[in-house]
């Protein structure tokens, strides 16, 4: 047990380190790195513009080594675009994102799984199709349009994330549940008069549980990445909005730290769901 946990921890650490290095490389070689909007300020003299321009463009390995060293002391560097320590920025904004993502995932799963269960168990082609159209419409709506609609309706903007995540969960859940439902033994049980709720819980949801858990793991990562445009569009002061500003400003310290954070969340979510899925699978065997 301890050995497996240690292996898992090592795997997480190596993946995080690699993620940080790859993010550094991507950002460093992207066009516009080192550029500052202030360069276009016509009040600035040539010397001032040169000072803005000639920021030291460190070697990637050197930068990353120094970044990791500082990380050991809890120093995530300083944001070039917001002129503040990265740790402070993340500490201020993470609770906001956790609220949005938490609510988005909770509502996304409750609505998505409920609608999928109803669509599947009702055995009505029309209902199935209508649910598909409803979710399809939400998928086809750009997040910006959803955000404006929510603002017009004076509804909490946080719900935009739920509206973006729920249709995806619905599609995956619906297909998995439908596959379970169409198994011969389930059809037999239904024909023999087994109640819908019992059928749903024991013979439809349960066999699909490991796959649904995998969807849950991926949905956590999906929710975090969806939070970036949603927070930027809805002006929610979370980590997603920070990530967008950092991307537009090529803010290396902030981007690397955020990538490491998102990688950690993805790894933990997926590993946890995988572990639970394996336990469920073992129990059934």
């Amino acid at each position: 047990m301890i050995a497996s946990l240690a292996k898992l921890a090592l795997k997480l650490l190596l993946t995080l380190l690699l993620g940080g290095l790859l993010a550094t490389t991507l950002v460093r070689f992207a066009p516009g790195f080192g550029m500052d909007e202030a360069q276009l300020d016509i009040r600035l003299s040539n010397q001032s513009i040169d000072a803005l321009n000639h920021q030291p463009k460190e070697n990637i390995a050197g930068f990353y080594y120094r970044y990791c060293q500082r990380l050991l002391h809890g120093d995530f560097g300083r944001s070039r675009t917001l002129e503040r320590p990265v740790s402070e920025l993340i500490r201020e904004r993470l609770p906001e994102t956790l609220k949005s993502v938490g609510l988005g995932l909770f509502l996304g799963w409750v609505l998505g799984l409920s609608l999928a269960s109803i669509a599947v168990m009702a055995r009505s082609a029309s209902l199935d199709w209508l649910a598909g159209i409803f979710c399809g419409t939400l998928l086809c709506l750009p997040a910006a349009v959803l955000a404006i609609v929510f603002v017009i309706a004076q509804a909490p903007e946080r719900l935009v994330l739920a509206a973006a995540v729920f249709p995806q969960i619905y599609h995956y859940a619906r297909n998995l549940l439908m596959r379970s439902l169409n198994q011969p033994h389930v059809l037999t049980a239904w024909a023999k008069g087994m109640g819908s709720l019992r059928l749903l819980c024991w013979h439809v949801l349960r066999p699909a549980a490991p796959q649904l858990l995998a969807v849950a793991g991926v949905s956590a990562s999906l929710a975090f990445t969806t939070a970036i445009p949603v927070e930027a569009l809805c002006d929610l002061p979370g980590v997603g909005q920070l990530a967008w500003k950092a991307a537009m400003g090529r803010d290396l310290y902030l981007l690397v730290t955020l990538t490491v954070l998102v990688t950690a969340v993805t790894l933990i979510a997926n590993s946890t769901c995988e572990l639970l899925g394996n336990m469920l699978g073992a129990r059934r065997a």
Binding site: G32, A38, L40, I42, L44, A51, R93, V151, G249
Partner: protein
């Protein structure tokens, strides 16, 4: 005589009445479109930080946004020496910063020293730094200070509008301010709250201390859609700068809400890459270097359509460098280049181009095709699309490429890997001195061909000479003559093809009183200390 007296009487009654009606208290609410980077007035360079500086900073001289003239603020009077190198201020006595620290001439000296520190690269400091040499500040008494520059700075007085005085002694450092408000709370990414400065020196005609509002709440919102909806729902009091699409929409719902202060100082323009070492084909460099080519492009563009379609009539075709809103400096002899595709083709034929089967080709049979890069701004994308159709009329194929801002800046200032660029110019200053870094050929911001060791063309050499001459003389009429000539040359040579000057549009809630939107920034809240709430509506808030 009788009419004059009546008018003066009415005016006095009006002033007293508006003062009497002005409701004290309440919170003013509006939006900033980005988070301020700093509260240090010397380092401020982004719009949001400068907005905070305007509301919190005390300045020696303020340019009245309505009259466009300098008015005394912390300095009750000033005098500029005959040689234009020294400006002497007589400060108001017994003033205090927001934390109670007394204000004196030492604070002015401290601020100027900070500003001119070359290591800080302050944009405001760079404006004063017209030549090599040190600036000297002489404090002769707690209320008398003089500043001597190494060379004459024409019209330096108005530049003090951007110098917010900092305390040399306060433990709060740059957070101790002399303006009507001070920063009380800052929730990063969400909002900033300013509270009224208890030591603010201004009083109204009835002797009541200004500002009228107790506080100002600034929500940080990037989206103008959300801003509009907040105004409609009564959650904010005004929108300082409104896009023409939203103006028409709000006007249809409530005409009293919107204001068009008239044509602003801002412009939209495009230019061709004339950097000799740019990584673009030589034949294209030859096109862009040709004055006839640039003039032809300018004449083939339909500016009235741009004003009407993109800006919904809230704009006018641009003449050149200076907007007609800049009444003194605008060269009124010049007119916008007319939309005339026949004349454009004639110029192109003169330059050796041939228009055949709907395609324009150069001497070497290269079809004329180039790209226009711009940033992701809806109106600029629309302008570029209109240009695409206009130039198709003379056989030129245009590719419109929108880029994110850092990528765009990289191409413009670093790699020079672009052919034409379309951007806007946001102008806060009336004086041509503020544009030195655009017109001097050696400058980094001489966009079409920056950092020239020697002027590449005779007309650029002429512009260099004229700009230096106007900067070194104090005679406004002489300066006007020199700058008129600069405008004439730019109009003829078209290094920048000026397209449009758009109007200054804003939206204001009826709850707000004493609002007089102007074209100079900040359009709506330039007199923030005199803004107040409508009494009736204030009770309901």
């Amino acid at each position: 005589m009788k009419n004059n007296f009546t008018l003066r009487l009415l005016l006095t009654v009006f002033v007293f009445a508006s003062g009497a009606l002005a409701q004290s208290g309440g919170e003013l609410r509006f939006v900033l479109h980005s988070e301020p980077k700093t509260f240090n007035p010397v380092l401020m360079e982004d719009d949001s930080s400068e907005s905070i500086r305007y509301m919190t900073g005390g300045v020696l001289i303020r340019v009245n946004r309505q009259t466009q003239q300098p008015t005394p603020e912390l300095a009750q009077s000033w005098k500029v020496s005959k040689d234009g190198r020294t400006i002497s201020f007589e400060l108001r006595p017994d003033l205090r910063f927001s934390d109670g620290t007394p204000f004196s001439a030492d604070d002015v000296a401290f601020t100027m020293k900070q500003l001119m520190d070359p290591a800080l690269h302050s944009p405001t400091g760079d404006m004063f730094r017209s030549s090599q040499g040190q600036m000297q500040v002489n404090v002769s008494s707690p209320t008398r200070v003089s500043i001597t520059f190494s060379a004459p700075i024409a019209d330096s007085v108005k530049s003090f509008d951007q110098v917010a005085i900092m305390s040399a002694k306060s433990p709060q450092k740059e957070m101790a301010v002399l303006g009507p408000f001070y920063v009380a709370e800052d929730k990063p990414g969400a909002y900033i709250i300013l509270k009224r400065n208890p030591y603010y020196w201004k009083h109204d005609a009835q002797g009541r201390q200004l500002p009228y509002f107790n506080s100002v709440r600034l929500d940080i919102l990037q989206s103008q859609d959300t801003e509009i909806l907040r105004l409609v729902h009564g959650q904010i009091d005004f929108i300082n700068s409104l896009s023409p699409d939203y103006y028409d929409k709000l006007e249809a719902e409530n005409p009293a809400l919107v204001h068009d202060a008239g044509v602003s100082l801002d412009s939209e323009f495009m230019w061709f890459n004339q950097v000799p070492g740019a990584p673009i084909p030589n034949y294209k460099k030859a096109w862009f270097a040709s004055t006839n080519f640039r003039r032809a492009i300018s004449e083939a563009i339909n500016r009235p359509d741009m004003a009407r379609i993109v800006f919904k009539g809230h704009a006018q075709p641009a003449v050149g460098v200076v907007s007609p809103a800049n009444k003194f400096w605008f060269n009124s002899q010049l007119r916008p280049h007319p939309f005339d595709q026949k004349s454009a083709l004639a110029r192109l034929r003169q330059a050796g181009f041939v228009f055949q089967d709907g395609t324009l080709k150069d001497r070497d049979s290269h079809a004329v095709e180039f790209s226009i890069v711009t940033n992701a701004n809806k109106n600029r994308e629309r302008l570029a699309t209109l240009i695409q159709q206009d130039l198709a009329g003379i056989g030129i194929k245009i590719n419109v490429v929108t880029l994110d801002f850092p990528s765009l800046i990289d191409r413009m200032t670093n790699s020079y890997n672009y052919e034409a660029c379309l951007l806007g110019f946001v102008n806060d200053d009336l004086d041509p001195n503020s544009e030195m870094n655009v017109w001097l050929s050696s400058s980094e911001n001489h966009q079409w061909d920056p950092k020239q060791k020697t002027p590449a063309t005779p007309w650029e050499a002429e512009i260099d000479k004229l700009m230096r001459e106007q900067a070194s003389t104090l005679d406004q009429n002489k300066r006007k003559k020199y700058y008129d000539k600069v405008q004439q040359i730019v109009w003829e040579q078209e290094p920048f093809i000026y397209l449009i000057n758009h109007d200054a549009l804003s939206a204001v809630s009826p709850t707000l009183q004493n609002v007089h939107p102007t074209i100079l920034r900040p359009q709506v809240y330039w007199n923030i200390d005199e803004l107040s709430l409508n009494q009736q509506l204030a009770r309901n808030r």
